[in-house]
């Protein structure tokens, strides 16, 4: 018997994150490192804990090994509680056969028994690819005071970008009258953040209806939400103010990391009243050597810096050797930048090695054609040989041999 929970969270973490290419070859998107010592999933999980939600189901499907290891018993987020806590929920086999999660709604549908054992009044649906700090309890209070069936968090995007988002068109009292998916001519700039609170009774009803509909793609945005709206359920938009970034692409992941280097960092991960919890590595403080020069960068424990850093983020255990230069780049855990190597506008994934004198990435101003420019990505464990050159926008998944001068 589980004690009743007023509100529990379900975190959709099964997507491949195919637009992160080499970075998600072996790990699910929510497990991708972010911000020097975090992984993307730390943000929704910390938000849950800081908002007083201590039961979180994490729906996993794609490459779950690293993610499952990372979640463990939930202790880093104080989620190793007696009844609630964090639960990895993979697809499973039942008496009527086995199914993968067909869509986001189906993933929740398949876990109705998990939700029911807490007998919740409300369920928060979260995704594992956003960087933000949000107090879900404020959103829940809004949901309750509006007696809504569903509340959707909305972010004010610039009008000129609104056509890239799912737009919520609202009446003056905040009730939604229309969903407009990537409209050519947007009527408003209220973008859906993919964060929903449902009254559980309603959600359960619509999940069951959705499952019974053979034409449905079993997706929240495409199927369940429109069905609720068409049936006349009360749906409201809750406006969120603060930093929010989707990190589903290489460019946005790089940008969101670079945002942290702004001295007036709008995310402020150092706020003691809203800590971002993470599984901390067991490593000594970082050492900055005699030849080092660190400018506007984030460096964490276990690093050895002897080269030059500018506008860069080093994760735990990264080595930057003498004469190496790292500019506007993200170097993920355990990677090594050897003597004289140059890494610029790049993401170097876990345990990759950049050989002596190699050059990774290009500055946008050095490009002949600016349209060819993009962030260079070196995949996890890849070895770039000495003096090799990796162009802008490259996606390196295989070792690159040494180049003799």
């Amino acid at each position: 018997m589980y004690p009743k929970q007023e509100c529990i969270a379900m975190l959709l973490a099964g997507g491949q994150g195919s637009r992160l290419y080499a970075l998600t070859k072996r790990i699910a998107k929510p497990a991708v490192p972010f911000g020097g010592k975090y992984r993307i999933i730390d943000f929704p999980l910390s938000n849950c804990v800081n908002s007083g939600i201590d039961t979180v189901g994490v729906l996993t499907q794609y490459q779950p090994l690293v993610l499952n290891d990372y979640l463990g018993n939930g202790q880093p987020w104080d989620l190793d509680t007696m009844y609630g806590g964090v639960h990895a929920l993979p697809p499973y086999q039942g008496t009527h056969g086995a199914d993968w999660y067909k869509g986001t709604a189906n993933a929740i549908y398949q876990n109705i028994p998990f939700i029911e054992r807490y007998n919740p009044d409300y369920v928060v649906i979260l995704s594992g690819d956003h960087i933000y700090k949000m107090d879900y309890s404020e959103m829940l209070a809004f949901h309750k005071s509006h007696k809504a069936a569903c509340t959707i968090a909305a972010y004010q995007v610039p009008m000129e970008e609104a056509s890239r988002f799912g737009i919520l068109n609202c009446n003056e009292d905040g009730t939604i009258y229309e969903f407009d998916e990537k409209p050519k001519v947007p009527k408003s700039n209220n973008a859906s953040m993919g964060i929903y609170i449902f009254s559980w009774e309603k959600l359960r009803k619509y999940l069951e209806m959705d499952e019974a509909n053979p034409d449905s793609s079993n997706d929240f945005g495409k199927d369940v939400l429109p069905a609720m709206l068409n049936a006349g359920e009360k749906m409201v938009a809750w406006k969120f103010e603060g930093y929010w970034k989707d990190v589903g692409t290489i460019d946005s992941l790089w940008e969101a990391n670079m945002d942290l280097l702004d001295p007036n960092d709008p995310l402020d991960m150092s706020d003691p009243s809203w800590r971002i919890f993470t599984r901390n590595p067991v490593m000594p403080p970082h050492y900055v050597g005699k030849n080092a020069d660190c400018q506007n960068s984030l460096v964490t424990e276990g690093c050895m810096v002897n080269g030059k850093l500018e506008f860069s983020i080093l994760f735990e255990g990264v080595q930057v050797e003498t004469g190496a230069q790292v500019t506007e780049s993200i170097i993920m855990p355990g990677a090594k930048i050897m003597e004289g190597a140059k890494v610029q506008f790049a993401i170097v994934a876990e345990n990759a090695v950049i050989g002596p004198g190699a050059v990774v990435g290009q500055r946008p101003e050095d490009m002949e054609n600016r349209d060819d420019w993009g962030i260079a990505v070196i995949g996890g464990g890849v070895k770039v040989g000495a003096n090799a050159v990796v162009k802008a926008k490259a996606m390196v998944e295989e070792d690159i041999p040494e180049v003799t001068k």
């Binding site: 067991v282 000594p284 403080p285 970082h286 900055v288 400018q295 460096v299």
Partner: protein, 370 residues
């Protein structure tokens, strides 16, 4: 694993008097060290990495910060259903507090009685090193000794109560002398002792009943004649903490690459309590060289040859050299600090200058406002 047959005993208060300024408000074991550690992290992690899964920590006074640090022992994997971490507050003898090691061990008689382990390791918190106690135990079993003392051969550090061993070619201890000159080349005891639990219980009971009170004189020196005492020679780096000066020096040793590598061997990590700080932020125009820096710092000034603990802020135009700055200390703009140890939560306002010397670093106590 054979290590599981060993219980660790850590004396967290021994040597408190050697660094009085720093230990006024805490036990020796909870003295901050090396940017993110407390001294007790070293013996505790060494024991855990050697397979020991039961450790008793003997406390005496001012141990609140120690308990806060240790918590349930989770950070050392010592929060267990069976065995794990035991904090052993002063016990017995009416109102009297133990005054020496023998009385302290007598005070944990019932703890020892309830241990099923066959061997014990005794340790203080004044040695900063990464040692594999499994090897010490192997040597202990090979020589069939009653007591094995871990020693270091080399220049005598500045210890308050130095114990010097004379050994034959088989590492059997032939004599133990107290006192040696600093810098002399000797085999000095690191204060780690391995013995059978039953031997310890019997020896302590006997010492107490005969009113013997000095561990070195009445157990070790007497033991040379009556028991088999062997030495185990430790070859790695050891930083001995015995004064504010040596505390300063050993922290500075961490800037040497080989010391850092040896002490923080990734195969035998040193564990400590976590704090969930964000990575350290280097501002534009910051100049940082040859320094050891923990998470959660914000550095906008110049930092040279320093150890910065978690959450330290260094303002614009400030110049720090040869400093040890403990947790959450805030240094304003244009402040100059040299040869200085700042305890936790100190505030240096803008435009101050404090300059010590290598042989006499300035110490600023916890929570001060300068």
């Amino acid at each position: 694993m054979r290590g599981n047959n060993v219980v660790g005993i850590i004396f967290s208060n021994m040597h408190d008097d050697t660094m009085q300024q720093v230990t006024n408000i805490r036990t020796f074991g909870s003295v901050p060290f090396g940017g993110r550690y407390r001294t007790i992290d070293f013996p505790l992690s060494n024991m855990v990495n050697s397979g020991v899964n039961k450790v008793g920590v003997i406390t005496k006074s001012n141990y609140q910060s120690l308990m806060d640090h240790l918590g349930s022992g989770k950070a050392w994997d010592l929060s267990r259903k069976s065995e794990g971490l035991f904090i052993l507050p002063p016990f017995g003898n009416g109102n009297q507090m133990y005054s020496n090691r023998i009385e302290a061990l007598d005070g944990i008689t019932s703890f020892l009685r309830n241990c099923n382990e066959e061997y014990v390791i005794l340790s203080d918190c004044d040695m900063i090193c990464n040692i594999d106690f499994k090897k010490v135990l192997d040597a202990h079993l090979d020589t069939n000794a009653d007591i094995t003392i871990v020693y270091k051969n080399g220049e005598m550090p500045d210890l308050g109560e130095p114990v010097v061993l004379e050994l034959n070619s088989q590492d059997k201890v032939t004599d133990i002398v107290v006192g040696a000159k600093k810098g002399e080349k000797v085999s000095w005891s690191m204060g780690y002792y391995v013995m059978k639990k039953a031997f310890l219980q019997q020896t302590i009971a006997e010492a107490v009943s005969r009113n013997r009170s000095n561990f070195v004189r009445d157990i070790l020196q007497r033991g040379v004649l009556e028991n088999k005492i062997y030495g185990y020679r430790f070859e790695g780096y050891v930083g001995a903490l015995d004064s504010v000066q040596s505390f300063f020096r050993v922290n500075m040793d961490l800037m040497k690459w080989d010391v850092l590598r040896d002490l923080f061997n990734p195969m035998r990590p040193i564990y400590t309590k976590e704090r969930d700080e964000m990575p350290t932020r280097y501002g534009l125009g910051s100049v940082v060289t040859n320094s050891l820096i923990a998470d959660g710092c914000v550095i906008e000034g110049e930092v040279k040859n320093c150890v910065l603990f978690r959450g330290v802020h260094v303002g614009k135009g400030s110049k720090l050299s040869n400093c040890i700055i403990m947790q959450d200390t805030v240094i304003g703009d244009n402040t100059v600090l040299d040869y200085l140890i700042s305890d936790k939560d100190v505030t240096f306002s803008d435009g101050k200058a404090m300059i010590g010397t290598e042989s006499y670093p300035i110490y600023v106590s916890k929570g001060s406002v300068v």
